[in-house]
């Protein structure tokens, strides 16, 4: 049986993490192919419902990547994102999916290496946690759509 390849959605602020992803590419850095990047105008635009929706649609893990504290282009968008992530983690714990499958990371635009490290770390964390229990019944399907094309 092949190793489990988690499917991870990464919501990335265009002013930092998304730019860092470009930089990681220019730097020819290798990183986990399990993540799907969604460009956001600011990490602060993430909403509780969007995160839950990603899990409902098959994500094994989700993370939001935003600017360092004090660096937000919209002043406090990243602060808001951190608070929302904390609230959704609590919901995920309560409903039994587990808050560990969700995280917030600071990834400045200039740190291609940090972008790659975060992608690898989160992939490793979710691999340890195993497939989302929501995907277990439909494991075949989940695999088919899985990580390699990310």
């Amino acid at each position: 049986m092949p190793e489990f390849e988690p499917k991870i959605v990464a919501f990335c602020c265009r002013y930092c993490a998304y730019t860092a992803a470009d930089l990681a590419g220019s730097m020819r850095l290798q990183y986990s192919p399990n993540i799907r990047v969604v460009e956001m105008p600011c990490s602060g635009t993430i909403e509780h419902g969007v995160i839950l929706n990603a899990f409902e649609k098959g994500a094994d893990g989700v993370y939001i990547a935003g600017c360092n504290l004090g660096d937000c282009h919209f002043l406090k968008g990243n602060v808001r994102a951190i608070k929302r992530v904390a609230a959704v983690k609590k919901v995920l714990d309560e409903i039994g999916l587990g808050g560990d499958r969700l995280e917030f990371f600071h990834v400045p635009a200039s740190e291609g290496t940090k972008f790659a490290k975060v992608a690898n770390d989160m992939t490793e964390r979710i691999r340890q946690l195993g497939p989302s229990p929501l995907n277990k019944s439909a494991a075949g399907n989940a695999k088919k759509e899985g990580g390699q094309t990310a």
Binding site: E47, G49, L52, E56, E94, I95, G96, L97, P133
Partner: protein, 224 residues
């Protein structure tokens, strides 16, 4: 606005544990403004509930609808076609809305997702404070626009009491003494003399003391 907060998600889950299809109904009135039961919160709750039930091998079909207001019959009428095959309705409105749904859909199990707390408003985004006690006979013109009925922990009419220290209430250091606020404001307005009039005991029969209340405006009633 009416301020409410969500019950713990597991408490709501338990109310609908044996239901296969459930309608979650949001309200676009007060509870949208206080972020407890608007369209977004309704979607989040339905989503969380579906996930939870899938994990418990007891899948739930959760559908959603958000009414303009749940406290007016005309706005819940649009649910008539939506409720037909659901086993339960979860209302994310205040207690008024829950009861309107229960009254209209008599054969459905209707449950509340919120605890309705008080009427008030926000001070900063994310914080709401109680401001009015619905006493039925407003006295704000005597107290500088600060209500001692609800904002004084003792609801006294001739304050402050001995528990007021450094402007704070003895009940809790986070609570401003309403009578200190009243005194300061009346002084600033040059109306301290108004506070010298002793207020007689309040007529609580206009509050809740005579049972549930009604308000009637005969000049706008349609039927004779």
């Amino acid at each position: 606005m009416i301020v409410a907060q969500q019950k713990p998600i597991n408490d709501i889950a338990q109310m609908i544990n044996d239901c296969k299809k459930v309608l979650f109904v949001g309200c676009a009135g007060c509870v949208t403004v206080c972020l407890a039961g608007g369209e977004k919160e309704t979607e989040v709750m339905a989503s969380a509930m579906r996930i939870k039930r899938t994990l418990e091998n007891n899948p739930l079909e959760a559908i959603t609808y958000t009414c303009t207001r749940q406290c007016d019959p005309e706005y819940i009428a649009s649910l008539d076609n939506v409720v037909k095959d659901v086993d339960a309705i979860v209302s994310l409105a205040c207690g008024v809305g829950v009861q309107y749904l229960a009254e209209r859909f008599k054969d459905k199990w209707v449950v509340p997702a919120l605890d309705t707390k008080f009427i008030g408003g926000s001070t900063v985004h994310g914080v709401w404070e109680e401001k009015c006690g619905l006493c039925g006979e407003c006295i704000l013109h005597r107290t500088g626009g600060i209500c001692p009925i609800i904002r004084c922990s003792k609801s006294i009419l001739n304050g402050p009491c001995g528990g007021s220290q450094y402007g704070k209430c003895e009940v809790n250091k986070d609570i401003d003494c309403a009578w200190q606020l009243i005194y300061d404001r009346m002084k600033a307005l040059g109306k301290l003399d108004k506070l010298m009039e002793i207020q007689p005991p309040k007529d609580w029969s206009k509050s809740r003391d005579g049972g549930p209340r009604k308000a009637i405006r005969e000049d706008v009633m349609i039927d004779e």
